[in-house]
């Protein structure tokens, strides 16, 4: 809790949300000499504590289990059962997962740090689907470079090149090598024209940023135990070294507007339910694509009866993710999946083509989670025991393959977040989610199913299990709710990541993405946050 006598509750820039997007922006702003105050709803998180919670905890398969939930900052959790924080209005579920705490959700991710490809920015022009971005790939490219340096991204190399995303700078680190099983699958998938490449990862392949190289613990999720994988707390800590004033356990519930509809203050409630007011010249909202929406929708006043930045009722609409389908099977040779990081490679040559006018493109991740626990539970449930169980786990564990394909959602204004009448323990409204899948995604699934079958065949697969059409899981790439665009009637902010309605309010993170494209969204979210920081710097000159 801030002591208002000693902590100045004012700064040049107030950043709301202490994740990767907020942290990277804070570093950039502080280096330019601006003062920054950061508000975070959740508590500080400590790597040692999280590793301890994970190692000593019972729910090894629940990525949220090690992360303590503060009553003032509830977070979605679905294991062992839905905790009811997100209210599903359907027709499809949107089981989002995110962490509220210093460092944010990058504490548990697989570190995939893809850039979009240039055509992703021109979907409407090229394919008559979705929308165009108000900026081009080339305009975002410098911010991608900055984000990669800040996060420490390894990638590229002789095999992978630039993955179709042209670069003005080399990757900060060499690509991590593919594990043995991935190398075998790469060779075998070649026969069906699928290119399995070692991916770009925010994971050290050498000591970088005073953090060690990955040594393959294979639990990037829920927690990298050695800090080889980037998380937002690393940027926040760097920013603190540059003078950041961080206040955690500070739940922002209102942005106050003033003359010219400028934002003049953020109001937050602390863990003792005391209310504080923070003023600033500029405000940057990086509180995740869902929680940011909640803050805006709650901030109703006479000038902004629909909430801040919401004159045209666009806030919270166009909610997206990457719906995912899966296939699991046993290959005809031992692959020893489960060595190295959890997502070291994926099939990348299915991301673009004329077909995007008809169906979703796809990108297939080969999962590298150690399958032992999954198979053990499965075979126990099937009645195996004793020696036979051990042998089956050993044999199948060596051969197990899990592929997951992502699909590109379309920005549907009816897919949206609205405030619920239900409140959390601190009296703040919960969120209701309306979500549905377009035919575009289902048609992507149909193609994906064929490609999955090719993969299975190419590696002599047996005991194949496909996920069903229409049954997609969330990839936790929450996008679209604060869309960037040139038309205020279809977007929330402009190409500077500045709110259409408020000259000194900016957005960062994945919510700003007007399309979800086909890749994990964090790197793009951080790049957009750095773009927003640049807009603030320009406005401060």
């Amino acid at each position: 809790m801030p002591d208002s006598n000693s902590t100045p509750l004012s700064a040049d820039v107030v950043i709301i949300g202490a994740g990767a997007a907020g942290g990277a922006a804070a570093v950039k702003l502080l280096r330019k000499g601006l003062s920054v105050l950061m508000l975070e709803a959740g508590a500080p998180l400590d790597q040692g504590m999280l590793v301890s919670n994970y190692r000593n905890g019972a729910y090894k398969n629940n990525h949220m289990a090690p992360y303590p939930t503060m009553p003032w900052a509830p977070q979605p959790n679905f294991v062992p059962h839905d905790n009811g924080y997100l209210i599903q209005k359907g027709p499809a579920p949107y089981t989002a997962q995110y962490i509220r705490g210093v460092g944010g959700t990058t504490w548990h991710w697989a570190g995939q740090a893809w850039r979009l490809i240039p055509n992703d920015f021109r979907m409407q022009t090229l394919y008559g689907q979705s929308v165009d971005w108000p900026i081009s790939y080339d305009e975002l490219e410098p911010y991608y470079c900055e984000a990669e340096i800040e996060m420490g991204v390894s990638g590229g190399g002789a095999l992978a090149g630039d993955y179709g995303s042209p670069r003005s700078m080399p990757y900060p680190m060499d690509v991590l090598p593919l594990p043995y099983g991935f190398e075998r699958l790469r060779q075998r998938y070649e026969s069906v024209g699928l290119e399995l490449l070692p991916g770009p990862q925010a994971r050290n392949s050498t000591a970088y940023d005073d953090r060690p190289a990955c040594c393959g613990n294979n639990n990037c999720m829920p927690i990298c135990p050695i800090g080889a994988q980037y998380n937002g707390s690393m940027s926040v800590r760097r920013a603190q070294g540059l003078g950041l004033n961080l206040i955690s356990n500070a739940v922002v519930f209102k942005l106050e507007t003033g003359e010219g509809n400028r934002i003049v203050a953020a109001h937050f409630i602390d863990q003792n339910k005391e209310v504080h007011r923070v003023t600033g010249k500029h405000f940057l909202l990086t509180a995740n694509a869902m929680e940011s929406v909640k803050i805006l929708l709650m901030s109703k006043d006479e000038r902004n009866p629909n909430g801040v930045a919401n004159a045209t009722d666009q806030v919270g609409r166009r909610l997206m993710d990457h719906p995912a389908s899966a296939v699991e099977y046993l290959a005809d040779e031992p692959l020893y999946i489960g060595r190295g990081p959890m997502c070291p490679g994926s099939i990348n040559n299915t991301r673009d083509g004329a077909f995007r006018s008809e169906r979703s493109a796809l990108r297939i991740d080969v999962h590298n989670d150690n399958p032992t626990r999954y198979l053990t539970e499965k075979y126990l449930a099937q009645g195996y025991y004793g020696k036979e169980l051990n042998e089956k786990i050993k044999r199948d564990g060596e051969r197990f393959v899990l592929l997951k394909s992502m699909f590109e959602m379309l920005p549907d204004p009816e897919n949206r977040i609205v405030l619920s009448d239900q409140k959390d323990a601190w009296g703040i409204p919960k969120m209701e989610i309306h979500y549905r899948f377009p035919e575009y995604v289902h048609r992507g699934y149909d193609t994906c199913r064929e490609l999955f079958a090719d993969c299975v065949k190419a590696s002599g697969g047996s005991e194949v299990k496909y996920s069903d059409r229409g049954q997609y899981t969330n990839s936790q790439h929450i996008t679209g709710t604060l869309s960037m665009g040139s038309d205020p009637h279809t977007s929330v902010c402009n190409k500077l990541a500045q709110a259409h309605d408020h000259a000194n309010l900016y957005f960062g993170g994945t919510g700003v993405m007007p399309t979800a494209a086909l890749v994990n969204s964090t790197l793009t979210g951080v790049a957009l946050s750095l773009l927003a920081a640049d807009s603030i710097i320009q406005a401060s000159l």
Binding site: D46, G48, M49, N56, R211, P212, A213, C215, I226
Partner: protein
Amino acid sequence: MLMKTGSTKARARLKALVWCGVAVAVAAAIGAGSVIWKQAKIDMPVAKPGQDSAALIERGRAVALASDCVACHTSEASKPYAGGMAFDTPFGRLYSTNITQDPVNGIGTFTDAEIVGSVRNGISQHGRRLYPAMPYTSYTGMSDDDTLALVAYLRTIKPIDSKPPENTMGFPFNQRWAMAFWNVMNFQSGRQLPVAGKSDEWNRGAYLVQSLEHCGECHTPRNFIQGFSHPNLGGGNLVTWRAYDITSGQSGIGTWSDPELFTYLKTGAVHGKANAAGPMAEAVENSLNHLPDADLHAMVAYLRDLPVTGTPSLVPARTGQGQAYTGTTALRASHPQYDPDSDALGAEVMFNANCATCHAVTGKGVGEYPRLFGNSVLGAVEPTNLVSVLLRGVHRKVDGQEVFMPGFANLSDAQLATLSTFLFKQFGNSQVQVTAAEVAKLR
């Protein structure tokens, strides 16, 4: 006496400048003017006629490598030999000099004799006295041929126009002339000559250990005014690091085989035994790793032959102590809580959360990650190096292979004291108790 430095960049910086202060007082009582004058003389070697200059430069490059000039005279990797590395002392801050051929900021206008004087006598251009952070106390043994080769090589270092910051030594420590008095007490100028009756290999090793590699600057204990004391290479303190005894006793290298010693000098690591960190990692990285194998074998032969220090039976061997940890299962059953803000955080909880991922839950190490039990740092009688490694981590790059351990300075003094005491008890010298105050001093 020495102050901590934030980084672990170089060896010599850790030698503090108590020398001059104490020496001023002592020397006043001595009035040894003639001796000082004698010491101020520079023995300029005479170049042999008809030398192949390319070969001379190449030899000089090897001398510079073996003398590890680059470690202290470089603060930015992109500006080798341009100086600027900080040496913190209780009396202010020193910066290493620019020894590129830059005429203004470097040594471009030095005569050969002035370079020789700087290296072997601690007397720089125009008779200016060097502080013995520059190890002329060891380099004085450098042979004439090597010294001339070194000068020839230094003449080829391209000028870098970079001015190291001004020293911030207060009075009287900014009075460089006072170093003359310190030298009277602590410095004997003169070449290191071969010892009759010893093999060529032994003599080569002795020359490398005592003169070029200047091992004694860290590994030989110092007297109260920071001059060399006894026993030779019997172990020295650098405040944030302990330079261990490297004679053949139990507390030294008595339990090491010759191949192990060779491997350690070459790579900085002997699995299960020792792993170079801090200044020693830099010595391996910048210098020892680049020596010809024959030179390393020679150093081993010489070290092996040094008189044993101490009373062997009274000193436990630094290697081979402690045992594997088996408490993880019981710990998990106890539902441990990890409160990062609590000074009462349990040692085993911290070990499992912060150490076991790389060093294994038993402490037996995994692949390149060192085994903890039996390790020489954990078998030491002083906690200095363990605590320093926990605070600062390990950085060592040898043959393109990087060895890195992050520091755990995020843990509090009390937490690190608890953890260190547990590590000693479980994996090494169980007598060592570490206090929060000791951690604070090393932080």
